[in-house]
Amino acid sequence: MNWGNPYDWTELEWQSATWGERFMFIDPYFWSYFGVALALATSIIGASWGIFITGVSLLGSTVKAPRIRSKNLISVIFCEAVAIYGVIMGIIMIGKVQTIESYPDDQIDECYTTALFGGYSLFWTGVSVGLSNLICGIAVGVTGSGCAIADAQTPETFVKILVVEIFGSALGLFGVIVGIIQCSGASFLKNCLP
């Protein structure tokens, strides 16, 4: 497996390179930072979407039933938690990224393969965490909006809908747990130390 350094490729080598080879030489650091950005940004999109769905309904219901306003902030907090999952995952993932000045000459292929594994692993961790939190945020938001509206009419329903909301909120946690396991194998320098 000797691809050589793509920066040294000649015109002819670039032209004859397959898509797989070109794809291979996307920098592992690009993949890992992209993964971090995805995990954080998509989670926050989910959370803010949820807060907004809950928020409008909460505001509207509060006009006629002011008593629900502080109680139903809990729905907003549940949505907020989704963003926090994204932040936590972002911090964990960024901790996995290690930089190296230069690869030892005789190990360049092994090192690159390890780094590439780390990059892919972080990228797809970002995708799984981000998507699960995006959907979780919307789920909690829609439930929270229902919760606010129902609570304004019949206060007894509040606790019951809250249970549903907690289960919805757990979905994002699943994403986080799997994400932590998923990125645990990522390392950039394992086989490269001289």
Partner: protein, 387 residues
Amino acid sequence: MDLCVFGVDDGYAEAIIRGLRASFLTEAQYQQMKNCASIPELKSFLEETDYQNCLQADNPQIPTSILRQRLKKKLADEFEYIEAQSTGTLTKYLFHLRCRFMIDNVVNMIEGLKNKIDIEILLSNIDPLGWFPEIKNIKVLEGDDYSSLYRDVLIDTPIGVYFMKFLEESIENLHENRTLNDIQNLFREMKPEYIRTSLKKMWLEDFYLFCEQELMPTSQEVLLELLKFEADFKTIQVIYNSIGNRDLNTAAKIITTRKQLCPTIGNLYPDCEKMYLQAMTLDTLREAVKGCDNYRDLLKDAPDPLKREEFNVQTKTLDDIMYDDECRRYALAFDGQGSYGVFYSYLKLKEQEIRNIIWLAEMISRKLAKNHPGWKKIIIPFSHLGK
């Protein structure tokens, strides 16, 4: 999916309407109202409910017409508030809803002017829900020139489009070599009920089209069902009322009138059209609608229109039966989140509540005995859901 984006524009307005759900009178409150012995007692009872603010300034011995006006004003105020909070499609949609009341108002005004009723009285009697600034422009006529009246209505009011369409249709129906005089006569002789029904039919079709084209899937699902039922209700009403009607003496005339007045939407159209247009008795009407929904069950209890003279306050009329079923549907539509059906249902159910209160007020002011069957003739919104 709709729920994710519904809130962008309409979540706030929807939640306000849902908050207003608490203002509906409960069954226990209706029971208390039935026990009121006099109008002042009823008024003081209403002041303890959500209606308190709109009645405070009034004399305890409030006439029912004023009471109705006050209650409607409250509903109109709430609706105006929602309208002010809405944007985009919802604003257009709410305006469409109000058009129905505007049609009523304009037709009432025209009718009043024809009968030379004072314009101040007419203006004080208009439904606040269908109020619009231009309505004041409908003025007393100079002589008998009805065409200028229609011209004013056509140009000035928001519902001018419907009038235009209506007049074009009725002029087209005249014989070939019509003169200006014929048209004048047409305007003079047109029955207000006929104008009202035709305009409402146009409004309903227009509204249906609007819902079909501009609303999101969830709203469509809820609203189109409701509107279909409403159209069927109108159709059945038209057929029912034209059975044994003395003004329509020939069968051909009945059929043409029916064809003009029946909406061209709904579950009954076009499958059953041929049958219901020709239904000349209640039994044939029942037969015509049997394929659709639960209409046959609804018509089962309807009294025979040929014995119209024998109807009295105890008779459960077709309208009562239909309102009852309508209320059930609206209550169900109200409970669906993320659709525009909730605004429509709210308006309809509140109207029903006002009808109930006015009915009870009438019963109370006439001092009818407590075992009189009329007391049972109210339809309580949301009471169907518990069963």
